[in-house]
């Protein structure tokens, strides 16, 4: 066999020659020619010109040749739809072939040809194949339904294929069942509420039976589907667990992980005092450990998942520390993950071993790994108090090695240790000071400066040390500058006599010579504090610092719950919800762990404080904007192009703070402001947890002594903050009293902190008392549904008015409405049921993570066909482009880039709807012209009109 020769033909006139060969009479020559064509196709050459000639070879009884032609067809049919029709006859004929392999091949290939005209012809053969006598054909046809659905969902529904597919779940052949489950699961993902996978105890039983019999891949499909089921009670959940546990011994790691997912999820429902609960916990550890002897890539996936499992249920692996010890020739990605888990599992019982290991790692070669190991030693000190002393001495040993990055990393963690155990290890400061000159990384410099400032009274030459940093003040990074400013103020408050000059110097550097608003503001605050009331200044600057948390990098609990539901998948590898990296409607549905029956472990309504505190997630550095960026985003002063290239942040913690300035958001803004006042370093991830606690203490101590100065600051904050709230249309009367036996309803819609709310005013204009209110929505375009009951607490007496706000979810049943944003509502009370319809501003469906990456934006813009673009005029709008962009951003319409061409500003904006549809827009603003032009592009063009109306409403209000 020397097929490789086909890869090397690159002469001119090749296509012409191939054409001749394809039309040759000799079978062998034909086959050779088709092979050459496929080889050219593989390396990326365009051989679409040969389409008719290749298709001519399709009529053959040589299966190998037929498969090659099919392969060619799948690649080029889309670019030559008219020609592709030529192939239809052969396909239809093949679907009737006596050989089941050929029937299956035909139906499989036809499903891959995404040409409308062909799909029309596909329906009849597919219907036959779904009921074929041969299981091989049926299992192929089952997947084909998913293919067809991807091309034309409506067609699949109209033709009733979904029902046939559901029937296949009861098929006698396990592989047919598995493929049907896979196809249904995929289709169901794009219809979250269609109830397609109607899972009930009977169908679950069928799946569990098939689980024992099908291939390893089929087992994965079935387990992944089972994980979506919600058992009715703990007994059912236990019985499913019992039937799933044998899978933990499967040789295929994916089967094991999917089984772990099902068990982790259903375990939530079991009472903790149940014997079985303990047994199950014990059964989970060994298979997880076994995963670590798989190939490195799988180990990586397993470790990322174990990281989640350890956070959710630390008890499972608490005795298995040793298996996470790093091996000398593990790939670096495995080493880093193991290290993460080691820190999480560290406890008093195993700390000696862990420390010995970490010390060993700190002498390795890979810089990232060494840094992480050093950091880990610091984490151990903070986590296990008994080990702190040993950790500190280990760190000192490492500092003695004088390896530059080791020293710097060690200093950063020692700073945290100082904060955790004040007045305990300060004896090491002298050693740290020796290494002052070798520090060249901002984080280490800032840490060192913090230490010097914090312990200024014990360091004789603190003023000299700080002064030496001051020389190159303007070349330092912001982090260092801010820290230096604070440290010198601390020093001054501690030793006022010798350092007056120094503090003057730094204040003038910060306030007069700096362009950085953060630095200037902080400088002014200190200046005014010091000049008006030094005693208060002392209380503020030298205030007791909040404790730092023991655990770092913990994933925020609601995200963790969601990720547990995605064990084994990409989401669990990235530690991000699927919506953060999947486009379109798929995977946007947030999964949740089931609630335990009986005991109510409520995870609802986390307040702003905990979100801010818990947001120091794994990926914090790349996702959560640093304090500077956040402020920049809030004020949106210059709209610089975004510098982050990662996907939009998945956690809405920080963003919510930004959007909801009217509510709790102001607190978080102040929290961010006042946090640096306390003189902390915000850079370290460990401090993240401190954020939440600070605002509660600081404003109180600030307000009293600081009349004017700070007031200005807060005014400023408020002034800028106010117009930034999302646009809420004024209330209108939806149901006049005339039509509803005395009940008048007016209302509006709003989006607050990521939650859609319907705000209603109910007025009783009748003579009798009204009670028993309830509300219901008809199916609508975006699946809006009440997220809870209508809370009307007291009976509504005559002439009484009540304000109610009803949170809405977007997971209700979907039906396209005309107009798109029409909502039909039924309200019931003790008198009657009343119906009305209203229209909601589509802007309330714009989600917070709707900021697209620039490249993606460009690609998507090009990708959407031009006929989907619509242009609108917004008249009489007197905002400049920056103000407009600010206003839009407050309603989650994000400006991605701005371009100025000949006095015309063009803003490029992205919007993401709650159902995952992306809308791109271009806003043209000409100075002096009150009429704007907006072009809207979207894959679903019907929303364009609504989006335009919203933009107009937002801009004009």
């Amino acid at each position: 066999m020397t097929d490789s020769k086909y890869f090397t033909t690159t002469k001119k006139g090749e296509i012409f020659e191939l054409k001749a060969e394809l039309n040759s009479d000799k079978k062998e020559k034909k086959k050779e020619a088709v092979k050459k064509v496929i080889a050219s196709m593989t390396v990326g050459k365009d051989v679409s010109a040969l389409f008719p000639d290749v298709v001519n070879c399709m009529q053959t009884d040589n299966l190998e040749l037929k498969k090659l032609v099919y392969l060619y067809l799948m690649n080029y049919a889309k670019s030559q739809p008219d020609m592709a029709i030529m192939a239809v006859n052969t396909f239809v004929k093949d679907c009737e072939d006596p050989n089941p392999l050929i029937r299956a091949l035909a139906v499989r290939t036809m499903g891959c040809i995404r040409v409308d005209k062909i799909t029309e012809y596909l329906c009849e053969p597919l219907r036959k194949c779904l009921k074929d006598e041969d299981p091989y054909v049926r299992k192929t046809a089952a997947v084909c339904v998913a293919k067809l659905h991807d091309i034309n969902a409506q067609l699949v529904e109209d033709q009733g294929f979904l029902d046939t597919l559901k029937d296949l779940i009861s098929d006698s052949n396990p592989m047919v069942v598995a493929n049907a489950v896979a196809a249904l699961s995929e289709i169901a993902e794009s219809h979250p509420n269609s109830n397609l996978l109607d899972l009930n105890p009977q169908s679950i039983n069928k799946l569990l039976t098939a689980l024992n019999e099908c291939t390893e891949w089929g087992q994965i499909f079935i387990l992944d589907c089972l994980a979506n089921y919600a058992p009715r009670d703990d007994r059912e959940s236990q019985s499913i667990c019992e039937r799933v546990t044998p899978r933990l011994s499967h040789a295929n790691s994916a089967v094991v992980l999917s089984a772990v997912k099902v068990l982790m999820k259903f375990m939530e429902m079991l009472p903790k005092d149940l014997d079985y609960y303990g047994t199950l916990l014990k059964k989970l550890a060994p298979p997880l450990v076994t995963l670590l002897s798989a190939e490195p890539e799988l180990q990586y996936v397993a470790l990322r998942n174990i990281n989640l499992i350890v956070q959710k249920r630390p008890e499972i692996l608490k005795h298995e520390m040793k298996v996470f010890f790093v091996k000398y020739n593990d790939p670096i990605y495995v080493k880093l993950e193991k290290l993460d888990i080691m820190i999480r599992l560290a406890s008093q019982a195993n700390i000696a071993q862990v420390l010995a290991e970490l010390k060993e790692y700190a002498t390795e070669v890979d810089v990232d790994f060494v840094r992480k190991a050093v950091r880990a030693i610091g984490r151990c000190a903070i986590k296990v108090e008994q080990s702190a002393e040993r950790c500190v001495s280990t760190l000192l040993d490492l500092i003695q090695t004088k390896v530059n990055y080791v020293v710097q990393e060690a200093i950063v963690v020692i700073k945290d240790i100082f904060r955790k155990y004040p007045n305990k290890y300060e004896s090491v400061i002298a050693t740290l000071c020796e290494n002052l000159d070798s520090l060249d990384e901002p984080e280490a410099r800032a840490a060192m400066i913090w230490i010097v400032g914090e312990y200024a009274e014990r360091i004789d030459n603190a003023d000299e040390l700080l002064e030496s940093f001051l020389e190159g003040f303007h070349d330092e990074s912001t982090q260092v500058q801010l820290q230096l400013l604070t440290a010198i103020v601390k020093l001054f408050l501690k030793k006022p006599t010798e350092t007056q000059e120094l503090v003057q110097q730094v204040l003038s550097l910060a306030t007069q010579d700096s362009d950085n608003p953060d630095l200037r503001d902080r400088g002014y605050i200190y200046w005014r504090l010091l000049s008006t009331d030094p005693v208060a200044a002392k209380e503020v600057v030298l205030a007791e610092k909040p404790l730092i948390s023991e655990e770092t990098d913990l994933i925020e609990p609601t995200l963790l719950e969601e990720l547990i539901c995605h064990i084994g998948t990409l989401a669990s590898v990235y530690h991000k919800p699927p919506s953060a990296f999947v486009e379109g409607s798929r995977g946007v549905m947030h999964k949740r762990l089931p609630a335990r029956t009986g005991s109510g472990e409520s995870t609802e309504s986390p307040d702003v404080g905990t979100i801010a505190g818990g947001s120091g997630t794994e990926t914090a550095p790349s996702i959560i904007p640093s304090q500077g960026d956040l402020l920049g985003d809030l004020l949106n002063l210059d709209l610089a192009p975004p510098t982050t290239t990662g996907p939009p942040p998945p956690t809405s913690g920080m963003q919510m703070g930004g959007m909801d300035l009217l509510g709790g958001g102001l607190d978080s803004l102040m929290g961010d402001e006042s946090e640096p006042l306390g003189g902390d370093i915000g850079g370290s991830a460990a401090m993240g947890a401190g954020f939440g606690a600070v605002p509660a203490v600081m404003p109180a101590s600030l307000n009293a002594p600081m009349g004017g100065g700070l007031g200005d600051l807060f005014d400023l904050g408020g002034g800028v903050g106010m117009p930034l709230g999302a646009y809420i249309p004024p209330k209108t009367v939806w149901l006049p009293a005339m039509k509803a036996k005395g009940l008048e309803i007016s209302g509006t819609f709003a989006r607050r902190a990521g939650v859609i709310q319907m705000e209603l005013t109910l007025t009783n204009k009748a003579m009798s008392v009204m009670t028993d209110f309830a509300i219901q929505f008809n199916r609508n375009s975006f699946g809006l549904a009440p997220a809870g009951p209508l809370q009307v607490l007291s009976p509504l007496s005559p002439n009484q008015t009540i304000e109610v706000s009803l949170p809405l979810s977007t997971v209700g049943p979907v039906m396209k409405m005309e107009p798109l944003n029409n909502l039909q509502v039924a309200v019931k009370n003790n008198i009657d049921v009343f119906y009305f319809s209203c229209q909601y501003p589509i802007s309330m469906l714009f989600v917070e993570d709707g900021k697209m990456e620039r490249q993606v934006f460009l690609a998507t813009w090009k990708d959407i066909p031009n006929e989907n673009e619509s242009q609108f005029q917004i008249k009489d709008c007197h905002l400049n482009s920056d103000a407009a962009s600010n206003k839009l951003q407050a309603s989650n319409i994000f400006t991605i880039a701005k371009r100025t061409v000949e006095g015309q500003d063009m803003l490029y904006m992205s919007i993401k709807l709650s159902n995952g549809i992306w809308v791109l827009a271009e806003l043209r603003v000409q100075t002096g012209n009150p009429n704007y032009t907006i072009s809207v592009k979207c894959r679903a063009p019907e929303v364009s009109q609504c989006v335009f109306q919203c933009c107009e409403a937002v801009l004009k209000n």
């Binding site: 090659l68 050989n99 291939t215 040789a251 094991v256 190939e295 670096i332 998948t569 993606v856 690609a859």
Partner: protein, 436 residues
């Protein structure tokens, strides 16, 4: 699900490209090449996200296999599939190399069409695939043969076909263990485990039902409660039972039966396959002990002395023993004296390699070396990688013993006694390291 599958050579040229989903375009091929294959630094993760497209890759010699997706797929499944893909290709044409892939590209496309449908992995058992994916075409099949193929590919016992006949019914059992150790310089065991595999070659007629038994502690203890059998078990095995931390099985094994009764029963595939994998951590026999002594004499000289002791029955012989003693990067010369075997300094590998062909149990041997160092001004200390060892011993370091393997085939006229059975134990070093 998997949106596409690409195979590249070491230069990043595409050898195979098969797209399953519409959301994966041709540019994905280039994105992976530019961002991963041609990336300057070392690979930091086997999963890469480029512009909202996720790439999974594995490497076999210098061939890259990449699976691409835009959805939230089951990541473990994708990697398992890529490994399986490698196994299937190896079973068809041997080593995975650029030459072999180019020579078999038509076959590979045919396989990819069969084992991945719309990105969903389908039956990928080589035994089944080889019955209908051949490069000879499948023209000559009768109707019965066709339906036999399809029922095997989709059936409950997809790994075995009906109607297999052997004149001599024979089976070979290999217990292959790799013993892993990490020891501190002071001789303290930091971690040790055995990962073992039971590999079976079966040449049996019909559809035989097999039952495999070993000295699993749980089984023996359970039997012990019955009373009489305890002594029998002990006297027949001669060894005590072992505690198995965890085991996984080939898909032919009935897992639910193992879960409830802890018995291992199955219908075996034909030919060679891996029946089970297991792991033990308790009471491991460490075949060798390494005692290192490293002394720095000034800044330019190191003295190394290493003693190895064999720790098993004197009647047994260990083979292929190799001790690898790492040397610093600035080594200028090495002098070695060893009592047994041959030792050489390999500058390119920065190590002294000491090889001994054979060594009986309960013996010891020693090597001493003087390492001359070039003076350097490098502040960084030498990381002192651990001393590693390779060897092969004719017993199972975990203590595992096969108690029985029974074969039942009710339809054909041969019984368990007629089957010729061979059992062999091989213990090899996994990562067997002693820090110095």
């Amino acid at each position: 699900m998997i949106g596409g599958l690409f195979i590249y050579n070491h230069k990043g040229e595409v050898l195979i490209s098969r797209v399953y989903r519409d959301d994966i375009g041709r540019h994905a091929v280039d994105a992976f090449r530019v961002n991963v294959i041609h990336a300057r630094q070392q690979v930091r993760s086997p999963v890469t996200n480029i512009a909202r497209t996720s790439f999974f890759h594995v490497k076999r010699s210098n061939i890259w296999l990449a699976a691409v997706t835009k959805q939230n797929v089951n990541a473990a499944m994708v990697f398992e599939f890529l490994y399986k893909m490698c196994d299937v290709m190896a079973a068809y044409f041997g080593k995975i190399s650029e030459e072999n892939i180019k020579n078999n590209f038509v076959l590979i496309y045919e396989l990819l069409d069969e084992i991945l449908d719309f990105g969903y992995p389908q039956n990928s058992e080589t035994g089944a695939l080889k019955t209908f994916i051949t490069q000879q075409g499948i023209k000559g099949q009768t109707k019965e043969e066709q339906s036999q193929i399809t029922s095997q590919v989709t059936g409950q016992i997809g790994w075995r076909r009906e109607g297999i006949k052997y004149r001599r019914n024979e089976l070979f059992l290999d217990v292959l263990e790799s013993v892993n150790l990490l020891m501190s310089p002071q001789g303290q065991v930091l971690s040790a485990h055995v990962s073992g595999r039971v590999v079976m070659k079966s040449y049996l007629s019909g559809m035989p039902e097999c039952k495999f038994g070993m000295n699993d502690k749980i089984v023996i203890d359970k039997a012990g409660k019955g009373g009489v059998t305890d002594d029998v078990a002990k006297s027949t095995t001669g060894k005590q039972s072992i505690a198995i931390d965890d085991c996984t099985f080939n898909q032919c094994v009935r897992l639910s039966k193992f879960d409830s009764e802890r018995s291992i029963s199955f219908i075996p595939p034909d030919g060679e396959y891996e029946l089970m994998r297991y792991r033990t951590t308790k009471d491991i026999i460490l075949p060798f002990r390494v005692i290192p002594l490293v002394r720095e004499v000034g800044r330019t000289k190191l003295e190394v002395k290493v003693v190895i002791k064999s720790n098993f029955k004197p009647s047994l012989l260990a083979q292929k023993i190799e001790v690898r003693i790492p040397t610093p990067l600035n080594t200028s010369g090495v002098q070695v004296i060893c009592m047994k075997g041959k030792a050489k300094y390999k500058a390119s590998e920065n190590a002294i390699v000491w090889k001994i062909k054979r060594m009986a149990g309960m013996k010891e041997s020693q090597i001493s070396a003087e390492i001359e160092l070039l003076p350097t001004n490098d502040k960084k200390k030498w990381a002192r990688p651990p001393i590693s060892m390779n060897f092969e011993v004719p017993f199972a370091p975990s203590g595992l013993k096969v108690r029985y393997l029974k074969v039942f085939e009710s339809k054909l006229n041969y019984s368990d006694h007629d089957v010729i059975k061979w059992v062999r134990y091989i213990g090899r070093s996994g990562i067997y390291e002693t820090r110095c």
